[in-house]
């Protein structure tokens, strides 16, 4: 085959077309593989998998969750390492619930926004779900994050009412016979408390979810 300049041009055009189309195809396949991904944790301790408790909480949550991370950008404060750490931490959640979005905002670059959101610490995370939001400060582990999700998913805002003044075990008390530690656990999972004053109100309010009477020591008098 004799190669003249015309044929050479043809070959050049043909080759460059091939290379461009081929690379486009490769990028397309890579993009598709990134969109439809599934993964398997093959470690014996399942260290990349969420506990069943967290999975159940996530399953109850319909609709997207947005995490806004206010972390500085530069490496002086280990900002980059922290951002990567958050991503690695959240991938375990994202594998169960893909519509968890993470957004990074540097409080140094946008001080106004950080002030509006009430950011106090570098690395503070604002979690939004169905127009409600909560803040969480690092360091946090799976337990704290899952508790936060549970608080956000609890739409029922009716309070847990408790009585006091008759020697009951108090839900927010600190004394030995109080159940304050249990109350704290309930609070971290999103329950609200109310303390109806029955000397003022004539009957128990109807807007509570339940009334806790924890082993009173004196008699109740109802009129």
């Amino acid at each position: 085959m004799k190669i003249n300049s015309k044929l050479r041009l043809q070959i050049l055009i043909q080759n460059s077309f091939f290379v461009v189309l081929f690379i486009v195809l490769v990028f397309l396949l890579g993009f598709l593989a990134n969109q439809y991904r599934f993964s398997k944790d093959i470690t014996q301790a399942n260290r990349n998998t969420l506990t069943t408790g967290s999975v159940n909480v996530l399953k109850q949550m319909k609709g997207p969750i947005t995490l806004t991370v206010f972390a500085s950008k530069d490496d002086v404060n280990n900002g980059d390492t922290f951002r990567q750490g958050i991503i690695n931490f959240m991938t375990r959640y994202q594998r169960t619930k893909p519509d968890i979005n993470i957004k990074f905002i540097s409080p140094v670059e946008e001080p106004k926004l950080a002030q509006e959101m009430g950011i106090k610490v570098d690395g503070e995370v604002v979690v939004e779900y169905q127009k409600r939001s909560e803040h969480i400060n690092p360091p946090f582990a799976e337990q704290e994050m899952t508790n936060l999700f549970m608080r956000l998913s609890r739409t029922n805002q009716q309070a847990v009412m408790y009585l006091d003044g008759h020697g009951e075990r108090n839900l927010i008390g600190l004394k030995n016979n109080d159940v304050g530690e249990f109350g704290k656990q309930l609070e971290s999972k999103g329950f609200k408390f109310a303390n109806p004053n029955l000397t003022v109100e004539s009957e128990v309010p109807l807007n509570g979810s339940m009334l806790v009477i924890a082993s009173p020591q004196k008699k109740y008098f109802f009129y």
Partner: protein
């Protein structure tokens, strides 16, 4: 035919002491890191470290060995791939290879396969070396298997890119330098986008895809990335040799 070429490549590696020396030197490097890893484990974990931050011996030693292995392979693989095609071109044996009754695809795949078998020996040795921990401890084999798969895919990608650069030039040393530089750039690319880890450009980085394997996770997207990376550079090599054959 692919197997024949692969066998020939392997034989030429082991015909001289070169292949053995490379294996021995690399294993010595990995072995010394393994021993320092075990040493450090007892030093670090017996100290005042918070219980929440303690990790198992598999992860501690495995991480040390596999991260250094991926880094050492970055130097070793270009040196092994550099002569695969450029040496043939320099010693004028390429026309013979072209005129043999085998296709170009078979030639490239054969050479690639030969090298992969050689490198697989190393990956397998590292795995064996780490399983010796099982004598004293109960180790996490799944973690080691995931890391081995990751390392294997990583060196296969290195080799594919190395073969491509080897087909571009006549001088093996230029091929080695070019493939080293581009591999190094691909490895550290994600560092440049550290403040924006979800940037699509960081997705191109080899290290980012190795990371999920190094955590013990088999991810379809990362498998696909390595597969596409290898097949891209092998196809480009075949095209390049085909252009050579046409021009004569």
């Amino acid at each position: 035919m692919i197997l024949n070429i692969a066998r020939k490549e392997l034989k030429s590696l082991f015909a001289s002491p070169m292949g053995w020396i490379i294996l021995a030197l690399l294993m010595m490097a990995f072995g010394s890191y393994y021993l320092t890893g075990v040493n450090n484990y007892f030093e670090v974990m017996s100290g005042a470290i918070r219980p929440a931050e303690r990790v198992g011996v598999t992860i501690f030693v495995g991480q040390t060995v596999y991260s250094i292995a991926s880094f050492i392979m970055l130097f070793a693989v270009p040196l092994l791939t550099m002569r695969l095609i450029s040496e043939e071109r320099r010693s004028q044996t390429l026309p013979f290879l072209f005129s043999a009754p085998i296709s170009l695809t078979e030639i490239v795949l054969g050479k690639f396969l030969g090298l992969i078998v050689f490198l697989s020996i190393l990956v397998f040795y590292i795995f064996l070396m780490l399983t010796t921990l099982n004598i004293w401890a109960d180790i996490d084999f799944g973690y080691l298997v995931a890391n081995s798969i990751g390392l294997w895919l990583l060196v296969a990608s290195f080799s594919a890119l190395g073969i491509y650069f080897s087909s571009l030039t006549q001088q093996p040393i230029i091929a080695a330098i070019l493939s080293f530089i581009s591999l190094f750039a691909l490895m550290i690319m994600e560092r440049f986008f550290a403040s924006d880890p979800n940037h699509w450009f960081a997705y191109l980085s080899l290290m980012k895809h190795f990371q999920s394997f190094s955590r013990g996770l088999i991810d379809s997207s990362d498998l696909m990335y390595f597969f596409l990376f290898i097949s891209t550079f092998l196809t480009l090599t075949i095209r390049r040799l085909d252009a050579d054959r046409l021009r004569g």
